[in-house]
C-alpha cells in the first residue's frame, strides 16, 4: 500500500467503518461487537504496517503529502509521520482495540456507542498525523463531540456534569488555540503548514525570517500552552479530569487516559515549542516547575481519594507531570543551549513516559473496571481480600500497578527516571523535588494495593459476584502486562524510532533560539 493511502486509511477507516453499522439490527449486539473489534483491529494492523514501513534512521517527516483542501485559505489536507507521532499513532490503535474489547459491558444503545467510538478514533488518529495547523485543529475538535456523548450517555450518575465540564474546558482551550493559529497564519503570509511555520520561527525559511515578534511569540505560546495543558492535564487546568474519568464508562476512561491526555503533550512538542521557540524558552522554568508541582500535587491528591477511579485519575495528573517536566528542561545561557543532550534525554523521556502511561493507566482503568463490573462500587475502603478470591486478576493488576509506580523493569520506570535525570542539568532543586514524587507515588500505589487486594476477606457488597476474569478480560490483561514488561526491559524498542526526530527537533530549536537571540541583541526582532 502506498504511504499516502496508508495514512489516509489509518485516519478514516474507523469513521467509514461506522457507516455500515446503520444497517445492523439493534438487537444483534454480538455481530456489532465483532464488527467494532474487527474495525479497530484493522486500524491497529494498519498502524503496525506504518511502523514496518517507517525508516527509523531518518529524522524528518516521512510519507508527507499535501492535497489542497480549502484553497482560498491555503489549507491543505496534509498528513505525515515522524518519530514523535509514530509511537503515539501505534499507541492509539492499540488502546482503541483493547478498549473496544473492554466494551462488552456496555448495554444501552450499543449501536450509537460504537459509532461514536469509531468517530472518536478517527479524530485521535487525525490529530497525531496532520501536519496542517487548521487540519490539526479540526481533528482536535472532532474528538470533542463523540467524547461528550460517550461520557454523557454511557457514564455514571453525575455524567452530565462531567461531560459538560470536559466539553467546556476543551472548547475554551480550543478558542485560545484558534486565536494563536490566526496569529501565525497572518504573520507568515497565510500559511497553516506546521513545518513551514516552524521554519519561519527558526529563521530558516527563505526570505521570511524573524517575522514573529517577541511579544507575539510569548502571547501565542501562552495561548497554545493553555490549550494543550488543559488536555495534558496540568495543574491548574486538571479539574475536569477526575470528574470525566470517574463518570466515563471503563473503555472510555481507558481511551481518555491512554490517548487523549497524550494529545496535550504531543501538541506542546509538535506545535507550541517549534512555533514559538522564544516563548517556549521564556516560559521553560515555569513549565518545569508546573510539571514538578503537578507530580507532587497529583500524588498527594491521589493519596486522599477513596474512590478507586478517582485515585487512578489523579495518578494520571501526577504522571503527566513528568511529561511536562521532560519537555521543559531546556537550559539556555547567553542564547546558547547548555547540555542539549540532557534536554534531548528529557524529551525522549517525555515521549517514553507518554507511551508508558498510555499502557499503565489504560491497564489501571481496566483493572478498576473489571472490579466495578462485578461489585458495582469503587470505594477503596470497602475492598480488601480480592487476591483471595481472584488470584489471577490480582496478579495481573499488581504488575500493572507496579508499572504505574515506576518499578524498574516495567515501563513506568524509564520515563520517570530519565526525565528526573534530565532535570538535574536544568535545575537540581526541581530534580530533587520531582524525584521525591516517586516516593509519594510508591506510597499511594502500595497503600491502595494493600487496601484493595490484600487483607483477609472481602466484606463489601456483592461478594458473590467476585469471579475470576473471563478469557476476554484475561486476554486484555495479559496483553497490557506483556507490553508493560516489554518496554520496561527493552526500552530501546521505543527510543529507536523516536530518537532521530527528537534529536533533529532539539537541534533545530537550539539553533533557532541562537539566531533569535542574535536578532534580539541587534534588535532586529520586533
Amino acid at each position: 500500500m502506498s504511504p499516502e493511502t496508508l495514512l489516509t486509511c489509518i485516519v478514516f477507516l474507523p469513521a467509514v467503518w461506522a457507516i455500515p453499522l446503520v444497517l445492523f439490527d439493534a438487537k444483534a449486539k454480538d455481530a456489532m461487537r465483532y464488527w467494532g473489534v474487527l474495525g479497530t483491529a484493522l486500524t491497529f494492523a494498519l498502524t503496525l504496517q506504518l511502523l514496518m514501513q517507517f525508516d527509523s534512521n531518518k529524522s524528518g517527516m516521512q510519507f508527507k503529502f499535501d492535497t489542497p483542501w480549502i484553497s482560498n485559505w491555503n489549507v491543505f489536507f496534509s498528513l505525515g509521520v515522524d518519530g514523535i507521532s509514530l509511537p503515539l499513532v501505534v499507541l492509539t490503535g492499540f488502546v482503541c482495540l483493547l478498549s473496544m474489547l473492554a466494551s462488552w459491558s456496555i448495554e444501552k444503545n450499543f449501536k450509537g456507542y460504537l459509532m461514536l467510538f469509531l468517530i472518536l478514533e478517527t479524530g485521535m488518529m487525525g490529530v497525531f498525523l496532520s501536519l496542517d495547523f487548521f487540519l490539526f485543529y479540526v481533528f482536535w475538535e472532532v474528538m470533542l463531540l463523540p467524547m461528550y456523548f460517550l461520557i454523557g450517555i454511557w457514564g455514571g450518575p453525575r455524567r452530565e456534569y462531567a461531560a459538560i465540564k470536559f466539553f467546556l474546558y476543551t472548547l475554551a482551550g480550543s478558542v485560545l488555540m484558534l486565536i494563536a493559529m490566526l496569529m501565525f497564519y497572518f504573520n507568515s503570509d497565510r500559511s497553516f503548514d506546521l513545518l513551514e511555520l516552524a521554519k519561519i520561527a527558526g529563521g530558516t525559511s527563505a526570505g521570511r525570517s524573524h517575522v514573529y515578534g517577541m511579544s507575539m511569540q510569548v502571547a501565542a505560546f501562552i495561548m497554545l500552552f493553555i490549550g494543550f495543558a488543559i488536555k495534558l492535564p496540568s495543574f491548574p487546568f486538571h479539574t475536569w479530569l477526575p470528574d470525566a474519568h470517574v463518570e466515563a464508562p471503563t473503555p472510555i476512561s481507558m481511551i481518555l487516559a491512554g490517548v487523549l491526555l497524550k494529545m496535550g503533550g504531543y501538541g506542546i512538542i509538535r506545535i507550541a515549542f517549534p512555533l514559538c521557540p522564544y516563548g517556549a524558552q521564556y516560559a521553560a522554568y515555569f513549565l518545569a516547575a508546573l510539571g514538578v508541582f503537578s507530580i507532587i500535587y497529583g500524588a498527594f491528591a491521589a493519596m486522599a481519594q477513596t474512590d478507586f477511579k478517582r485515585l487512578v485519575a489523579y495518578s494520571s495528573v501526577s504522571h503527566m507531570g513528568y511529561v511536562l517536566l521532560g519537555i521543559a528542561v531546556w537550559k539556555i545561557v547567553d542564547g546558547k543551549t547548555v547540555g542539549r543532550e540532557y534536554w534531548e534525554m528529557g524529551l525522549n523521556a517525555a515521549m517514553f513516559q507518554m507511551i508508558a502511561h498510555g499502557i499503565s493507566s489504560t491497564g489501571m482503568f481496566f483493572m478498576v473496571g473489571v472490579l466495578y463490573d462485578r461489585v458495582h462500587h469503587r470505594d477503596i475502603n470497602k475492598f480488601g481480600g480480592i487476591a483471595q478470591v481472584m488470584p489471577h486478576y490480582a496478579g495481573l493488576a499488581a504488575v500493572i500497578f507496579f508499572a504505574g509506580l515506576g518499578l524498574p523493569g516495567l515501563c513506568g520506570f524509564v520515563g520517570e527516571v530519565f526525565s528526573v535525570l534530565a532535570c538535574w542539568n536544568f535545575s537540581p532543586l526541581l530534580a530533587i523535588v520531582a524525584a521525591s514524587g516517586v516516593i509519594l507515588t510508591a506510597g499511594y500505589i502500595l497503600w491502595t494495593m494493600q487496601r484493595v487486594y490484600l487483607g483477609p476477606e472481602y466484606k463489601g457488597p456483592h461478594p458473590e459476584a467476585l469471579v475470576e476474569m473471563n478469557s476476554r478480560e484475561l486476554a486484555i490483561g495479559y496483553t497490557l502486562v506483556v507490553t508493560a514488561i516489554l518496554f520496561g526491559v527493552l526500552p530501546h524498542l521505543l527510543f529507536d524510532p523516536m530518537h532521530g526526530s527528537i534529536q533533529a527537533l532539539t537541534q533545530s530549536l537550539a539553533s533557532s533560539y541562537e539566531t533569535l537571540y542574535g536578532a534580539i541583541q541587534t534588535s532586529q526582532l520586533p
Binding site: 454523557g152 472548547l171 475554551a172 486565536i179
Partner: protein
Amino acid sequence: MDFEALFKQFLSGDVAQQASILRSLVIFLPELVLSGSIVLMLAARLVSLDRIIPTHWFALLGAMASFVIVLFQFWQFGQAQTAPVEVFTGLAIHDEFSIFFRGFLTFFLVFVIALTVLTGIPDDEDAPDFYSLLSGAVVGMMLMSSANHLLMLFIGIEMASVPSYAMTGFLKGKRRSSEAALKFVVYGAGAAGVMLFGISLLTGILGTAQFSELAPRFQAVFANHAGMQDPATRCVVLALLMITVGFAFKLSLVPFHFWCPDAFQGAPAEVGGFLSVGSKAAAFALLVRLTTSLAGDGTGALSQLSLSSGLALGLIAIVTTTFGNLAAYSQKNIKRMLAYSTIAHAGYMLMAVSALLVLQSVQSDLVFQGNHQQNGPRAMEGLLYYLCVYLFMNLGAFAIVALIRNQTFSEEIDDYKGLAQQVPVLAICMAICMFSLVGIPPLGGFYGKAFIFASVYEATNVHWFMWVVLATGGLNTVISLFYYLRVAKTMCIDARPADAAPVTLAASSSPALYVMLVSGMVVFLGIIIDPLSKVALHAAHALF
C-alpha cells in the same frame, strides 16, 4: 400620466431606451417569474383550480423556475466575464454579488415551501394567501440584494417586511401570534420611518441617492470639512445613525431586537425559520452594498468615515452577540431560544461587516504584512459562507421544531426530553444543527465563524478595538455552548418521561429525509469547503 400614456411613450421612445428597459426586464426575470406565480396562485383560487392542483405546486414551481433562471444568469456571467450592469436606469444593479443573493434566496424559498408542505402549515384554504406572502417577501428580499439606490433600499425593505408581518400573525386564532404580529408591525413601522428620515437627510446632503455616487459626492462635500463642529458632519452622522436603526431592526441587533423573540415565539416555526434566514441574508446583502459604496476607496474623508462606522458596527456586534447569548441561556421555549440565537448570530455576522469597513479604511502597505488586496473580499467570503451554512443549520433546527410540534403540540425544551429514544433521526439532526451553531468542526458553522474571526484578526492591525471584538467573539462561542448543548443533551441524554406524548417518525418518511438532507448539508459544508468558498469569494469580488 396614466398607464396608457406611459405605455405609448415607451412604444414611441427611442430604440436605446427600449432596449435598456427590455434588457432590464430580462435580468429581472427571476423576480417576474415569482410574481407571476403569485398571480397564478390567486387566479387559480378564483376558478377553484386549487381544489384540483394544490397551491403549493404553483409556489414550488415558481420558486424552482426562478432559481434555475438565477443559476443560468450566474453561468452567463461566468462565461462572458461581464462588468456589473445597472438596470432600470440605475435603480438596481446586476452583478455576481446580487446574483449570489438572489440564488441564495430563491434556493431558500424552495426549501421553505417544501418544509411547509411537509408540516402542513398552511391548510388548503389559506395556502394561496400564505404562499403569495412568502413569494412576495422573497421578491422584496431579492430587490434588497440588488438595490443600487437609496429609494430602492427603502422599497426593498418594506416589500420584504410587510408580508413578514402578515405571516407572523398567520395563526389567526392564536392570541400570541396576533400579539407578535402587532408588535412586529409597530416596531417595523417606527424603524422604517426613522430610516426614511435618515435616507432623506443623506440624500439632501450628498445630493444623490445613487449608491455608486455616494462615495465621490461624500469626498467632494467633506473634502475641507473638519470635525463634529461642522453642522454638515453632524447631519451626516445623524443620517447614518438613522439608517443604521432601520438595518438594526431588520437584523435584530441590540437595542432594536425586542420584536424578535416575541415574533418568533408567536409565529409558526416555519415562518420563524424563514424570517431568521431570509430577511437576515437580504439585510446583510443590502448593508454590505451600502457600506462598501459609502466607504468607496477609503481615501481622504472616506477613510475616517469607513473606520468610525466600522468600529461602531463592531461595538454593536459585541453587544448584540453577548446579549443574545446570555439571554438565550435562560429560555425555556425552543423558538424563543432560537430567536435569541438568531440575534447572537447576527452579531457574529456583523463582525464581518465591521472588519470589512475597518480594513477598507486603510490602503497602506505598511500596516499589513503580505498581500492585503484580498482582505476585503475575504471578509465578505466569510460572511457569505456563514450565511450559506446558517441557512441549513437554522432551517434544520426550525424544521425539527415544527415536526415535533405537529405531534406533541409543544415547543418547550423540557418536552424534548429523551426524544432520541423515540425519533433518533430528529435528535441526531438537531444535535448536528446545534453543534454547528456553536461552531464546532467538522460542521459547517465552524468555517464561517473561523473565516470571520480571521478577518477580524486581520483588522486588529488597523485598530486595537478589533481585539476586543475578536475576544468577545471567542468568549461568546464558549458561552453559547451552554444553551445549544442543553437542547442536544435534553434530546439525546435525558430519559423520556413515561407520560410524555409519543413521537413517531419513520426514518424513511419524507419529513425525516428532508431533515436529514438539511443537516446533511451542514456536515457536507463542513467537509467539502472549497466549491462554496470559491463561489463566495467570486461573488464578493464584485463589490470591490
